[in-house]
Symmetry: C2
Amino acid sequence: MEYKFSDRVLTLKPSAIREIFKYAADPSYVSLSAGNPAPEAFPSKQLAAISAKLMEEEPILALQYSTTEGYPPLLQHLKEYMKSSRNIGTEDDGVLVTSGAQQIMDLFTKSILNEGETVICEAPSFIGSLNDFRSYKAKLVGIPMDTDGMNMEALEKALETEKNVKFIYTIPNFQNPSGITMSLEKRHRLYELAKAHDVMILEDNPYGDLYYEGEPLPSIKSFDTDGIVIYAGSFSKVISPGMRVGYAIGPKPVLAKMTVCKQGQDVHTNIWSQVLCYRFMTEYDFDAHLAGLRKIYTKKRALLLDLMEKHLAPYITWDPFNGGLFAWCHLPKGVDMMEFVQKALEKKVCVVPGTAFLTDENEPCDAFRINFSTPTDEQLTKGITLLGETIREMVEK
Amino acid sequence: MEYKFSDRVLTLKPSAIREIFKYAADPSYVSLSAGNPAPEAFPSKQLAAISAKLMEEEPILALQYSTTEGYPPLLQHLKEYMKSSRNIGTEDDGVLVTSGAQQIMDLFTKSILNEGETVICEAPSFIGSLNDFRSYKAKLVGIPMDTDGMNMEALEKALETEKNVKFIYTIPNFQNPSGITMSLEKRHRLYELAKAHDVMILEDNPYGDLYYEGEPLPSIKSFDTDGIVIYAGSFSKVISPGMRVGYAIGPKPVLAKMTVCKQGQDVHTNIWSQVLCYRFMTEYDFDAHLAGLRKIYTKKRALLLDLMEKHLAPYITWDPFNGGLFAWCHLPKGVDMMEFVQKALEKKVCVVPGTAFLTDENEPCDAFRINFSTPTDEQLTKGITLLGETIREMVEK
């Protein structure tokens, strides 16, 4: 049979990042291309204990069908915790538990975007979200990043000239892939611009709790008095990505549409894992756990910075990254980025070419992404040393 | 803000079934409206043991990111098991693990259906799938059911007259809601018609292992030598619905598109639960477990049949249901179905009005659905007795 696919998937193509991942799975390569939490960051013992008790005392709760909106005690706790600790959520907002935060991007886009309408996003931005927007035939308009977040003049111009903009997608904290954090001033400006143009904001915050320098900034959602922001929260980087549990906080009418879409998509989120997240948050000291994660990654980041100063400088530079899991590295003028990535691969070290994160993969790009959460200290040392050899050979030849 | 939703969700409306579920959650009501497995059908002790060992020995496997396609040992096992035990899957087929079988309906529709194209389905059919097809702006064409499955003359006519038919959706075994099983002859005829019209088949089989009378029939997928059938398998009724694990078996090019869509939707299926399904299938006697389930439900079905003969006959009749979880009951001429459901609610017993399962909820319908897997024997007895009182009061008044 000759398969006739829908127009929306015809536009989707396998990404360059997938080719890199093939090498990354080979243990003879050093992979700096993933985005996985460090193995030592998982609260494995606590989750094992909660799970054992749950299956002993209430197995049917863990195994039976549940409601599309989410496990009610988790919904209630997230509402209270995010309000008291982050000032997120108003009386007009609801909470929806999703199968990872990725599903929020999908359900929100499905609920508000018609084919051909526009999504404004950061350039570069998270490839998974961009591909999902594409799968609904969104027109993607990328806004260049300054070291303190989206360029506001470019954003303003896009809002004025683009037709049918439905929402702005932003990762304000320690953005993937750039590591950049949006300044407080820009957060307010973004909010005001969106409001003035009657456009919603999708605020994706998987890394907000992973800050290693300075104090965290308030989220855009925390000053949303107009009901224009959908906040995407995730347990993937702070409890476990394998469990696929995320949560949207946003205006109730929007969540209601997303809930109907979720019912058709997967009925509800794995309930066993929802109960684990709820009990881990309430039976253990969750804030102390987050502080512990920051301690693990602060050390890894310090090692990476040392190694980059030693091996990559002065040829390669990087944007400030005060949190998160990634460093975004710029190559010197005259060095072709894809050629650099290829030569690094020949030395058996994998990084992700920056073009993978652009709204148009064919645009020029001088950057590549390094992940420092997944490799061991030894792997990180070996990998950065090899990247240093690669750039020196290319520049000093 | 005045929210502007996409055209696709504007057409989605909350279903009548949701109103019923509000009552069903009230413990003073007898609910015959659910579709949950019986609590005693869960292999809770085995899953608790597997989970404890997994978290003791390989917690990172259960908690870390995994691949979109699914846990490789589970993929391999499903491929072998479904081939050897059900003759399902060819060299040209692949396997994709999904977040419940519901996600297969969504990913397949997203991958092959453009807005406005047609899905042919059984009338009545499963409401969750119909709503998902609607969310992609499918035109739904319902084919009336005979007691041995879709009416083939009506199907043939629809295939000849409808434009842009993309696929036929069928639940051939113990269909939800009708309980009807498609005859072997009709399975072959359906396959040949689809092939002749260059249309794919989405074969949804959540209940196939739950047969209580006679031998199971081969699935349509088992004679798919042309690569036109996507088979949707599920662990929801045979291990646990709360874990949300299903699997698609179908042509590799189609699964490849569905995999790209899944990556944007939820990255991958909860990996902890995937490992549990794999180990339960391979470390325990899975076929003996299925036989045990049939024993539980055979008894429940026998009780329901006794009760229906005693309390509902001769006024109410039902279609043959030799397996599954549901009975589809027809009211006598002159009795309004919605009025009957309402009067039953006043007696505190919930059933689902048949209109909820139609492609057009405004069409006339003389039927309602009873579930017999969820209620206890006492609840089933009380519920059917009350339904008997209801019909007698309406007919004999």
